[in-house]
């Protein structure tokens, strides 16, 4: 039996490509690697913008009764900060990594629908820029990223901002749906014939499940967005109570998308962590089956918990009790995953690279975010703390301490594969420590602010509340540290991209198929794919006398 097999090209031939250089080629590209890289650049671009918005917000809140920023502009800032970070940073960063890596991980040369892949990217890109165009068209959206009716309806928000929000998100939503469809189809149909579903790398497994989540959740959002657009443009009354609509209906649409969205942003990060920790611990993942199966449990439960965003709207105790129970349940598979990752460290031989350090920081900060999240399932606690800074702290521990740390771990891990160059570990450690310390300074104290009674989304607070001022100042100083950390990261990127390509095929001695290709991979990923018999094909190739247990 040969060590390699040839994979057949599809019948439907793609346009002839003769070179992988040139700008026009990037714009017209349907190559999953180029699209993945463009997704990552897009995410980085909007990350800088969203970060600057956050800095303005923190500057305004540093002291009480501050009039640095007008209330009108502040409301636009926090709306755009939230919308940007979720839809234009985390989504494209995760989809970008997945677009780049999924075909490589499953031994394929392309995604199932290359043109749809390009369409998805350009829709996301167009939606993002369209939303930002609102700043030049009379004012950005100012009703929050959650855009609650009737505040977002035309009688209370008379600028065009919310219209740009609606159309922008409809477009990025279409892009995400295309990407979700592509991931599911690619993983189902284009796996190298050897790879059974239970042999998928965990990142690929999480993206697979995530694809289903996207396909089920985003249409809910887009339906709601269209209804509100019809309200605003054609005077319908879906969400306008004074003429017979329902303000609560919007919240149901939004959160029945919004809560799965939390997991859409969390699962790929779980996937990254499940790749990074085993490789740098030199250990197999502890409990592959549990990590994979619990992901399915999370995906299903994710659609039955949305009302915990709405415990304060005044629904009956029966409804609230049901959603309290489901919200507590979803904490269990998520929590046990943390045990799997820590268990992977046990008796390993841990290599503390920057990537691994981000993964370790993820373990602790994501646990904090998970615990504060679980406290919202306890309805009476939610009745006190919802819509306070406690929630602001929570969401940032999940999305920044969780997802973004995961993305950084992934960036440092796959950078040699994607660009053929190593990011500086020394600058990386500066980035890591400044960012992690700054992050905890910024958001840990916000839990306390919430408990002290500070509501979210306020552009200022009375300066006579001394303790609010102290905690807010600490928070702002932490944000400055994060700002510096990102500057270090950008500098690191800048100097690294000028270096020659020196990375070998498999610098981290990893085990999954993407590391069998060149760094960066050739335009055609694999001329031939190694045979796969276990979850760690490259381990088997490197250790023929001590292979993993055969699974096919």
């Amino acid at each position: 039996m040969s060590l390699f097999i040839n994979i057949q090209e599809g019948e439907d031939q793609l346009p002839e490509v003769t070179s992988d250089k040139g700008r026009l080629l990037w714009i017209s590209s349907v190559d999953h690697k180029q699209l993945g890289i463009m997704y990552l650049w897009l995410a980085l671009f909007f990350f800088i913008i969203g970060g600057l918005e956050a800095m303005l917000i923190r500057a305004q809140l540093a002291v009480g009764d501050n009039d640095l920023i007008s209330p009108e502009f502040y409301n636009q800032l926090f709306t755009m900060h939230g919308t940007t970070m979720i839809f234009l940073v985390l989504m494209p960063a995760l989809i970008g990594l997945a677009t780049y890596l999924i075909p490589l991980m499953i031994g394929a040369n392309e995604m199932a629908f290359p043109r749809l892949n390009a369409f998805s990217f350009w829709m996301t890109c167009l939606g993002g820029f369209l939303m930002y165009f609102s700043f030049f068209a009379g004012g950005a959206p100012d009703a929050g990223w959650f855009n609650y009716a009737p505040l977002s309806e035309s009688n209370y928000s008379s600028t065009q901002g919310v219209d740009y929000y609606l159309v922008g998100l409809i477009l990025t939503g279409m892009g995400s749906i295309g990407a979700g469809l592509n991931f599911v189809t690619t993983i189902l149909t284009l796996r190298s014939p050897d790879i059974k579903l239970n042999m998928l790398p965990l990142f690929a497994w999480m993206i697979f499940i995530n694809g289903f989540l996207i396909l089920a959740a985003f249409p809910l959002l887009n339906a709601g967005l269209f209804m509100m657009l019809i309200d605003r443009q054609f005077d319908a009354h879906f969400f306008i109570p004074s003429s017979g609509g329902s303000a609560i209906l919007w919240q149901h649409f939004f959160w029945s998308f919004g809560h799965p969205e939390v997991y859409i942003l969390a699962l790929p990060a779980f996937g990254i962590i499940s790749e990074v920790i085993p490789v740098f611990s030199r250990n197999k993942i502890f409990g592959y089956k549990f990590v994979a199966a619990s992901t399915v449990a999370i995906a299903l439960l994710a659609f039955g918990v949305w009302v915990h965003h709405m415990f304060a709207v005044g629904m009956t105790n029966t409804v609230n009790g049901f959603f309290a129970a489901s919200s507590m349940l979803i904490g269990i598979p998520t929590g046990v995953k943390v045990i799997n990752w820590i268990g992977t460290l046990y008796k390993g031989s841990i290599r503390m690279t920057v990537s691994m350090m981000f993964a370790v920081a993820f373990l602790i900060d994501f646990t904090i975010g998970g615990l504060s999240g679980a406290s919202f399932a306890i309805v009476p606690i939610d009745w006190q703390l919802t819509d306070t800074y406690y929630v602001v702290a929570h969401i940032h521990y999940v999305f920044l301490g969780g997802t973004a740390f995961g993305i950084f771990a992934g960036i440092y891990y796959w950078f040699p594969k994607i660009s053929g160059r190593f990011l500086s570990e020394k600058l990386g450690k500066w980035h890591l420590w400044l960012f992690v310390i700054g992050f905890n300074f910024t958001f840990l104290v916000q839990h306390v602010l919430g408990i002290l009674g500070m509501p979210r989304r306020i552009y200022t607070y009375p300066s006579r509340f001394g303790s609010w001022e102290i905690f807010n100042m600490i928070s702002t100083l932490g944000a400055v540290m994060m700002f510096v950390a990102i500057a270090v990261f950008l500098w690191n990127l800048f100097i690294t991209l000028k270096k020659p390509r020196t990375a070998p095929k498999n610098p981290w001695e990893a085990w999954t198929l993407e590391w069998a290709t060149n760094s960066p991979p050739d335009l055609k990923n694999f001329e031939e794919v190694p045979r796969v018999h276990s979850r760690r094909p490259l381990w088997d190739l490197a250790n023929p006398d001590n292979p993993d247990k055969r699974l096919n």
Binding site: P71, P150, A312, I339, L345, K347, I378, W383, Q384
Partner: protein, 309 residues
């Protein structure tokens, strides 16, 4: 300033206190274990050389099962007390007769006492030592009522009436805030609840029911006329007169309140004058128009309104 935990009134919120503390303990234990093991494993099993390979070992899978069972037991515990305390906090009679009806407006509060027919705004008086049933709704967008020390938080939604219990153990002033983003001045829509002992509460109600002051100095008279001429009456009600629009706050006993504009400014002649002179400068976005009043007109109007005790 709101004190540190536990700060909640008993009777309405003792369960919340209990849940707070038990959750804090459980969360601290879990977080402590995660930090401890992460730290211990990453230091103990750190690679000694770059090529070091592991001794190869793995945690027993029984541990996963153990963790699942422990987590489930914790869940059952919290679920039991969640249901129990929801019943305790939020049991509303089938045919609720609210003591106070509170309506949220962009960006102030209207309070109506159906039993005594008192109508006031922004400062809500309640009797201490007695559970008070609130009915809450909104005149425009979604607001949310939250006075942390006195009860739960509940949204005020246009087209819908919500009910909740509020309880102050001792007389005093309690601060709260609108907790649902409601537009430009969401930050300056704060709540001040004044809990009086029974005698004072009764006295306050009687004072509020007294007819409006109609006579005063010449300046006062001029101010009263201006109040009509400048169409103030199109939005503001004054009980005992024919002005009964309630688009803006009811001003019958305006000067008996300590603060105005959603607990933003102290009630005094200077602040009132600044407000009447240019509302947008004081509270940008407020619905009150600028009437471009001359200095004399301002003096007269301030003289009139500041005497509405």
């Amino acid at each position: 300033m709101i004190a540190v935990l536990p700060f909640y009134s008993t009777q309405v919120l003792e369960y919340t206190n209990f849940l707070y503390w038990s959750f804090a303990v459980v969360a601290a234990i879990i977080l402590g274990l995660v930090i401890f093991f992460t730290y211990r494993y990453t230091t103990k099993y750190k690679a000694k050389s770059p090529t070091d390979q592991p001794q190869s070992g793995s945690v027993s899978h029984k541990f996963e099962v153990f963790a699942l069972i422990t987590a489930s037991l914790i869940t059952v515990f919290f679920m039991f007390f969640t249901v129990q305390s929801m019943k305790e906090i939020q049991t509303i009679p089938d045919d609720p007769k609210p003591d106070i009806i509170i309506t949220g407006h962009q960006w102030w509060w209207e309070a109506e006492y159906p039993n005594s027919k008192v109508i006031t705004s922004n400062e809500v008086h309640i009797p201490a030592g007695k559970k008070v049933l609130l009915a809450l709704n909104s005149a425009d967008v979604i607001h949310s009522w939250w006075v942390p020390e006195l009860g739960r938080k509940i949204d005020m939604i246009p087209g819908m009436t919500n009910y909740m219990w509020m309880y102050a153990e001792k007389p005093g002033e309690y601060l709260g805030t609108c907790s649902e983003f409601c537009g430009m001045q969401h930050a300056r829509m704060r709540i001040r609840v004044i809990a009086d002992d029974e005698a004072n509460f009764k006295k306050w109600q009687e004072e509020q029911l007294e007819p409006v002051i109609t006579e005063g100095s010449a300046l006062f008279e001029k101010g009263r006329n201006l109040f009509e001429q400048k169409t103030c009456t199109n939005c503001h009600a004054i009980n005992g007169t024919s002005y009964n629009e309630n688009i803006g706050p009811n001003l019958t006993h305006f000067a008996s309140r300590k603060r105005f504009l959603g607990d933003f400014k102290e009630v005094n002649a200077t602040n009132l004058r600044a407000w009447l002179h240019d509302p947008q400068k004081v509270k940008e976005g407020a619905k009150m128009p600028n009437f471009i009043l001359s200095d004399q007109e301002l003096n007269a109007l301030v003289e009139y309104i500041i005497h509405l005790k």
